[in-house]
């Protein structure tokens, strides 16, 4: 069996290699774009020498490996250059937008956990009963609704039922924290809906599987109450698989928030990304893409480590 340190080293090497490959993918994508960036920025009237000067300023005249090295170093030292379109540092722009995207993802994740856990536990008590079946069918339907469609339907519902339209009013967390959470509730719920269904489904089948295990029967014959068995034995054992599921859900939520921001008109990373795409602002675009991928890579890394701590048998695989 692999030692804990050996497993950790292996995972760390994998993490670094993945990050390198991810950065190479992003860099290659942005260096094979057709068209000369400096020429596009200056327009057709600019003279050849002006274009050359700008190209030198942007560092575009250097060979590709050097540019890759400088670009990667800039990203890792959180100084990834200046946006063409905004004339601001990329890290500052991302920093401004991050509270929206991260806040939304965090609220959505909390919603997923506080809704799916109780429902899954209740459903798994007596699988096949009416309540369980209703939950399962609703789960399938929710799973099939794209987050942005759910957002539109929620807006429709909110505007017709309560005749309120709070869309498009973003409150900064520094101004009014409760208002900030309030304006993110509806979009977070829209992102959370399909993930609640996903988490419910996995957790339910995992609890049902554990309940049929021999140790549960033994604990029962020892006279432990159902609640104690659930809290002390079944849930911790189901948690190992839910760590992986949660990391997948978190990454999906992050990806989903990019679109939902657009529906609710929230100034988050998704809208910054779209404006960077439409203005062909590549320093900004590559920065956002790399950092979002970085968050996901770290998330998967942490979840691997956490599940190996929770269940040392994983290290054998």
């Amino acid at each position: 069996m692999q030692s804990k340190a050996g497993y950790l080293t292996g995972k760390l090497i994998e993490l670094i290699l993945t990050l390198l490959l991810v950065s190479l993918l992003v860099f290659t994508a942005f260096s094979i774009i057709p068209g000369d960036t400096a020429r596009v920025m200056l327009g057709p009237q600019a003279s050849e020498s002006q274009v050359d000067l700008l190209r030198a300023q942007l560092g575009l005249d250097k060979p590709l490996p050097v540019r890759y090295g400088e670009w990667l170093w800039g990203l890792l030292s959180f100084n990834p250059g200046t946006s063409y379109a905004y004339n601001m540092s990329v890290s500052e722009l991302i920093g401004q937008r991050l509270p929206v995207t991260l806040g939304m993802s965090a609220i959505a994740m909390v919603m997923v956990i506080i809704i799916s856990y109780p429902l899954a536990i209740l459903s798994a008590r007596k699988p096949g009963r009416l309540g369980d079946q209703i939950c399962s069918v609703i789960g399938h339907v929710l799973f099939a609704i794209p987050p942005y469609v759910a957002s539109l339907l929620l807006i429709l519902l909110a505007s017709s039922l309560f005749s309120l339209l709070t869309v498009g009013t973003y409150v900064k967390p520094s101004d009014d924290f409760l208002g900030y959470v309030g304006c993110l509730l509806l979009p977070s719920f829209a992102i959370a809906l399909p993930k609640i269904a996903m988490s419910f489904k996995f957790l339910r089948s995992s609890i049902i599987e554990q309940r049929n295990a021999d140790y549960v029967r033994t604990s029962k014959s020892h006279g432990l109450s159902d609640l104690k068995i659930l809290v002390r034995h079944v849930l911790p054992n189901s948690n190992v698989s839910s760590i992986t599921i949660i990391s997948i859900i978190l990454s999906d939520i992050l990806g989903g928030s990019l679109i939902v921001e657009q529906v609710f008109n929230l100034p988050g990373l998704g809208r910054l990304l779209l404006s960077a795409i439409s203005r062909r602002d590549f320093p900004l675009l590559s920065g956002i893409v790399f950092y979002l991928a970085l968050i996901t890579v770290l998330l998967y890394f942490i979840s691997d480590i956490a599940s190996s701590l929770a269940d040392p048998r994983i290290r054998l695989k």
């Binding site: 994998e14 290699l17 993945t18 490959l21 991810v22 993918l25 992003v26 994508a29 942005f30 094979i32 774009i33 399938h140 339907v141 799973f143 099939a144 609704i145 794209p146 942005y148 469609v149 539109l152 339907l153 807006i155 429709l156 505007s159 017709s160 339209l165 990454s251 999906d252 992050l254 990806g255 989903g256 990019l258 679109i259 657009q262 529906v263 990304l273 779209l274 795409i277 062909r280 675009l285 893409v289 979002l292 991928a293 968050i295 996901t296 890579v297 998967y300």
Partner: protein, 277 residues
């Protein structure tokens, strides 16, 4: 092996029936739209803008007076076509990468899986958005981008399946008889992966539609004047209070298609797991 049709479980049958009905609605709309739509999908009519659903326009009209039913019917074409073409690309790429990874193991395996994992590290539609940002929005680019993004999922299925199959006696036998690895993989391993690839393909179609409609909603997928569910929904957003039918009908069709595919894959999963163990 999967259950035969004779002793299919009632649970699987219910999933198949529900799935085929939902999917059938969208596919029927697509097939009929090839020959006939009530109005031309692009025909504008200034006299009947934002008309609520009526006998003349069962799904109402939009802000240009275009018939929503006709547009929904013609939009189903892109949904079906893009998901099918994208899954085909993902399936081919995934199989070509996944089977050798599982068969050879070692360095080949690690290299291929590392590449696959790196692609999967871009959350949601991010990588597809980047590809479209670089190469420009068009249906072809969306298909290639989605095919690339989904290839690792299929590669994983193929890799795990191959690792199990290659330990079986008949593969060793074929190897001893001097059958070349490429032939073993193509004719002896691949056909046995089909039962695992089938549910993955159906789920892939559904997930790809989720992504494609999201990209079209953002304006980076199917380009106007062609109708797609995502674009219709994004255009309808400004009229959400005055003309909710502009949202409801495209959304329903989109969800029918995705849900139908999910139900079918769930039916496949149930009958595969019940028949196998």
């Amino acid at each position: 092996m999967p259950n035969t049709h004779k002793n299919r479980s009632p649970e699987a049958s219910a999933f198949y029936t529900a799935g085929l009905i939902l999917l059938g609605i969208v596919v029927a709309a697509f097939i009929v739209s090839l020959f006939w739509t009530p109005y031309a999908p692009d025909a504008t009519d200034a006299a009947s803008k934002l008309v609520p659903p009526s006998l003349e326009h069962p799904f109402g009209t939009d802000n240009f007076g275009r018939d929503v039913l006709s547009r929904v019917m013609s939009a189903s074409k892109y949904t079906i076509f893009i998901s099918a073409a994208g899954v085909a690309i993902a399936l081919i790429l995934g199989t070509v990468a996944g089977i050798p990874a599982g068969y050879y193991g070692g360095f080949t395996d690690r290299g291929i899986m590392l590449l696959g994992n790196s692609i999967m590290c871009f959350p949601g539609i991010l990588l597809a958005l980047v590809a479209v940002a670089v190469f420009g929005p068009s249906v072809t680019n969306v298909i290639w981008a989605l095919g690339l993004v989904f290839a690792p999922t299929f590669a994983r299925v193929c890799r795990v399946g191959t690792m199990e199959i290659k330990e079986l006696d008949y593969i060793t036998h074929a190897h001893v008889m001097g059958v070349k690895p490429a032939r073993i993989m193509a004719f002896h391993i691949f056909p046995n992966l089909v039962p695992q690839l089938l549910p993955a393909t159906v789920i892939g179609l559904a997930n790809m539609t989720l992504f494609e409609s999201g990209m079209s909603y953002l304006g980076l997928g199917v380009q106007p004047p062609d109708a797609s569910f995502g674009k219709m929904l994004s255009d309808a957003q400004s009229y959400i209070r005055v003309a909710p039918w502009l949202i409801v009908f495209p959304a329903l069709m989109l969800v029918f298609y995705i849900l139908g595919l999910y139900f079918i894959s769930e039916g496949l999963r149930v009958s595969l797991s019940k028949g196998g163990k």
